[in-house]
């Protein structure tokens, strides 16, 4: 009897036995009202932010604005180089981050038992990577990619060139820095998708003589594709909005040309917003362009996120259905 009681409450928890008395008349209007107020305040703030940017920026948006470079010290013209730079940056980032993120998720899910020490260690690393401040990624990009890797390449292969070739801020270093920052996003999304794959599919593949690698390539990756896509889109959305990691690793105030080589510098939407908002000699003159740029970045981010959410919810429904 005693033994049974002990197994029913396996750990000694202070307060495991609680005396509860309830007044039947209290209806709980106050806590309900207070927490509802919190929700409403958040919704109102969100509406104010989006509404303000929408109203302030919509009149600036035109084909001219989207397709022309800045003119007259950013007081006229458009933001085409910043859009181009952002797109080029996130494409490079995705090329770097998606294969690594997907392979990590597959390793954690298919190769190691979830309780093994290796798995736990990797998980701790992923969680911590997600929490490292973005400015520290910027420092790392400068110290590792530019000074160590880039500087190393220069002294090995370009010693007679004089000036730095790779050991300077460049789009490839910014993209790699962002790839590290977004790695946890891709891993988490892919893992969620891997969990939705029914084990029968894998068993069937093995029964037909498929090897582990063949099963991963032909069964697991195709079925995890929506999750991988979701992760990639969320990573792009996150990467496109980050400014701190790219400030020292490749983004430029203003460039008269578009980046065409991996070691070119580039303009970027978020950094362009920061520059216009804080470094402009005439705030009133740049204001319409500033609002327009913020609107473009916000719309880009929201579209990417909604698409990711849609794919994810469809994936979850499929899982619930099967």
């Amino acid at each position: 009897m005693n033994h049974q009681a002990a197994t029913a409450t396996p750990t000694t928890r202070p307060g495991a036995i609680v005396t509860l008395e309830f007044h039947p008349k209290t209806r709980g209007h106050i806590p309900r009202g207070l927490t509802l107020a919190a929700v409403l305040i958040i919704l109102v703030i969100l509406a104010v932010i989006i509404g303000n940017i929408l109203i302030g920026g919509i009149s600036t948006i035109s084909w001219e604005f989207l397709s022309h470079p800045p003119e007259q010290g950013m007081e006229a013209g458009g933001i085409f180089p910043a859009i181009f730079g952002t797109v080029a940056l996130v494409i490079l980032m995705v090329i770097a981050v998606v294969p690594v993120g997907v392979m990590t998720a597959i390793y954690l899910h298919e190769y190691t038992p979830p309780t093994s020490r290796t798995t736990r260690l990797i998980r701790v690393a992923i969680n911590n990577l997600a929490g490292v401040p973005s400015i520290v990624f910027g420092l790392f990009g400068l110290g590792f990619f530019i000074a160590f890797v880039g500087g190393g390449l220069d002294s090995l292969f370009y010693a007679e060139d004089g000036g730095p070739v790779w050991g300077q801020p460049a789009i490839v270093w910014a993209a790699l820095t962002l790839a590290l920052l977004t790695l946890p996003v891709v891993i988490v999304s892919t893992e969620e998708a891997l969990r939705t794959i029914p084990p029968e599919l894998k068993d069937a593949s093995y029964a037909l003589g498929g090897t582990k690698l063949q099963t991963i390539w032909r069964i697991i990756i195709p079925h995890a594709a929506p999750g991988i896509l979701t992760g990639s889109i969320l990573a792009v959305s996150r990467g496109a909005g980050e400014v701190a990691p790219i400030m020292f690793t490749g983004a430029a105030y203003y460039l008269p040309y578009l980046p065409t080589k991996l070691n070119d510098q580039f303009m970027e939407l978020g950094y362009h917003i920061y520059v216009m908002a804080t470094q402009s000699p005439d705030v009133e003159a740049t204001k319409p362009l500033l609002y327009g740029t913020v609107l473009v970045l916000l719309v880009l981010t929201f579209i990417l996120n909604s698409v990711a959410i849609m794919i994810r919810s469809r994936m979850r429904k499929n899982r619930a259905g099967s």
Binding site: R13, V18, F22, P24, T26, G28, P31, R32, T35, A37, A38, V39, I42, L43, L46, I49, N52, P99, V100, M103, T104, Y107, I122, A125, N127, N128, G131, V132, P133, S134, I135, V136, F137, G138, L139, F140, G143, L180, S205, L208, G210, K212, L213, R218, G241, E242, A244, M247, F248, G270, Y271, Y274, A277, T278, K287, V294, L297, L298, T301, F302
Partner: protein, 320 residues
């Protein structure tokens, strides 16, 4: 769903290489964390070892009050670009703490309150509005929140409170709070919804009405999760850069007022690193600040993770 699969005969070599390749990539996150630590810390080490750098930035000078001019009272000062550079970290520490405290005062009631409502009171339809709204808030890039605080919030606060300075700790803290709310909300809501049904049923059977169930049963059980959300949110508030860089005014003032301008650790790195000479004292001190931020957020995240893992174990243990 009928699929035709034909497998080529097994190739041991390919299997071996494939598995090793996947395993190698799986360690990328771990290697990244170690490299970040190594390379950020490496640039900060001269603070402890290099006697030239210690002339201006010894441990003593970074932390304690200094008598910068003879006869004047000792003080803390961050003036890296003056003729006699001063590298006291204390004004930056104070600024970081002020901004983060306001952010938490703003974000905890809203984030936890909204999480309680979403988990305990909201109808399914309302929940379908709240969660995407929070996700939308989380998706707003921090440079856009910084822009909002700089252009709009600062003006509103100045006019309603009659402030002398547009950009101050209050302004930066509120904007920072907007970035923290989604973290607090998500972690707290997750903890409350993972409280097992059996606990709720037991309280209901004892005669509790829905809000009494929440208050006496669900909230206490989920409390470690809510605490973890707050801790993780604080980590974000301390590390966040663009918002404070744009909204705080960036003056390293030592005062108790939340209406003065502040300069935080992260904003100092962002504002000054582009202009420093590689390997100089200033450069080294900025990397020292980066190392501090890294170690602090690392401990915060580790702590948050441990709390959440224990909570999960405990709640799942209760079902079984």
């Amino acid at each position: 769903m009928i699929q035709k699969l034909k497998f080529k005969p097994k190739s041991r070599v390919r299997e071996f290489i494939g598995e090793k390749l996947i395993a190698l990539n799986a360690f990328a996150a771990l290697i990244a964390i170690l490299l970040i630590f190594a390379f950020v810390f490496k640039e900060a080490v001269p603070v402890f070892t290099d006697s030239y750098i210690q002339e201006d930035a010894s441990f003593d000078k970074l932390i304690f009050q200094q008598e910068y001019y003879e006869g004047r009272p000792a003080k803390w000062s961050w003036q890296p670009n003056s003729e006699a550079p001063k590298y006291s970290l204390y004004p930056l520490f104070l600024g970081t703490l002020k901004a983060a405290l306001i952010a938490m005062l703003f974000a905890i009631p809203l984030g936890v309150g909204a999480a309680i409502y979403a988990s305990e009171f909201a109808s399914r339809r309302l929940r379908e509005i709240i969660k995407p709204a929070i996700e939308t808030l989380a998706a707003i890039p921090s440079v856009v929140l910084g822009f909002f605080a700089l252009m709009i919030l600062a003006t509103v606060l100045q006019e309603t409170l009659g402030l002398t300075f547009r950009l101050n700790a209050l302004n930066a803290g509120i904007a920072l709070g907007l970035a923290v709310i989604p973290i607090v909300f998500t972690v707290a809501e997750d903890a409350m919804t993972s409280v097992p049904r059996s606990l709720r049923d037991a309280a209901t059977a004892l005669g509790a009405n829905p809000w009494q169930v929440s208050l006496t049963t669900v909230l206490p059980a989920a409390m470690p999760g809510i605490a973890a959300g707050v801790v993780l949110g604080f980590g974000r508030a301390v590390g966040e850069t663009m918002i404070v860089l744009m909204a705080s005014g960036n003056a390293a003032i030592i005062s108790a007022s939340f209406l003065d301008s502040v300069r935080t650790f992260s904003a100092t790195i962002a504002a000054e690193l582009a202009e420093v000479v590689f390997g100089s004292t200033h450069y080294t001190v900025l990397f020292m600040i980066g190392s501090l931020l890294f170690v602090f957020t690392f401990l915060i995240n580790l702590g948050g993770d441990v709390i959440l893992a224990r909570l999960k174990e405990r709640l799942q243990g209760r079902i079984g």
